[in-house]
């Protein structure tokens, strides 16, 4: 599936879940870290810019946005000037986040 649609579906679920009063954290890892890069121009290939919705997360009280440090390094994504503020976490903190969460919904990029 188109990666931008994956992001849209994940964000839809996150926002609706938050709107139902649940506490939501988002973790970007693997190729997903690229979604956080600013200055994307998906319109150039006829795709809507769903990553803009990242800027609305704070309106839904979703402030726990994490960026996997190892993935960020692998893909050359630096923490400044991202689509939304994200905290870098190492593998240990990532594991801890997963352990602390009651439900985990995975949106893996394919291909």
């Amino acid at each position: 599936m188109d990666a931008s649609l994956l992001l849209k579906e994940a964000l839809d679920l996150a926002m609706v879940t938050a709107a139902f009063g649940q506490s939501v954290a988002l973790l970007f890892e693997g190729k997903g870290v690229l979604q956080l890069l600013p200055d994307q121009q998906p319109e150039a290939v006829g795709v809507k810019h769903y990553a803009k919705a990242l800027q609305a997360l704070a309106l839904y009280d979703i402030n726990d946005v994490y960026l996997c440090e190892a993935s960020a390094e692998q893909y050359g994504v630096s923490s400044d000037a991202l689509m939304c503020p994200a905290k870098r976490i190492d593998l240990e903190a990532r594991l801890d986040l997963l352990h602390r969460s009651d439900l985990i919904f995975d949106y893996p990029a394919q291909g």
Binding site: E9, D12, F20, D106
Partner: protein, 146 residues
Amino acid sequence: MKFALHIKSSPYHRQACRTALRFAQSLISKEYTLSLVFFSSEAVVIANRLASAPQDEEDLQSQWRALSQSEGFTLGICSAAAVRLGVCSGRPHDVSVPKEGGRAEEASTAQHEEVMIDNLAPGYQLAGLGEWVEASVECDRVLMFG
């Protein structure tokens, strides 16, 4: 113990829909309760009444319906994905996602035309993401089949 299942991928290209069905049959045989099976993304095409499986293949649409009717759980079809992929109930969809910029007008035109069309298979119902969230909060176990 109550379960909710979420299936996301196409019933034709991936195994998830079938694996989830086996899982559902198995948990019912162990006397657990299934409260909601939610189909989103490409999985919503399971509910296209106009699609028919080849005779020598498993008919997943009918199998899910039969299980749902005998056990009394809901087969929910994500309404936003259903609009996108052309699964329509003959009524204007309750699209819970916000209208998006310049596309809003196109989307409402499409919805208007869908009013006349009903290809939602019996036994399935359109549902918003909110219904999935409620089930995932209320159930003891929540599984996603990607």
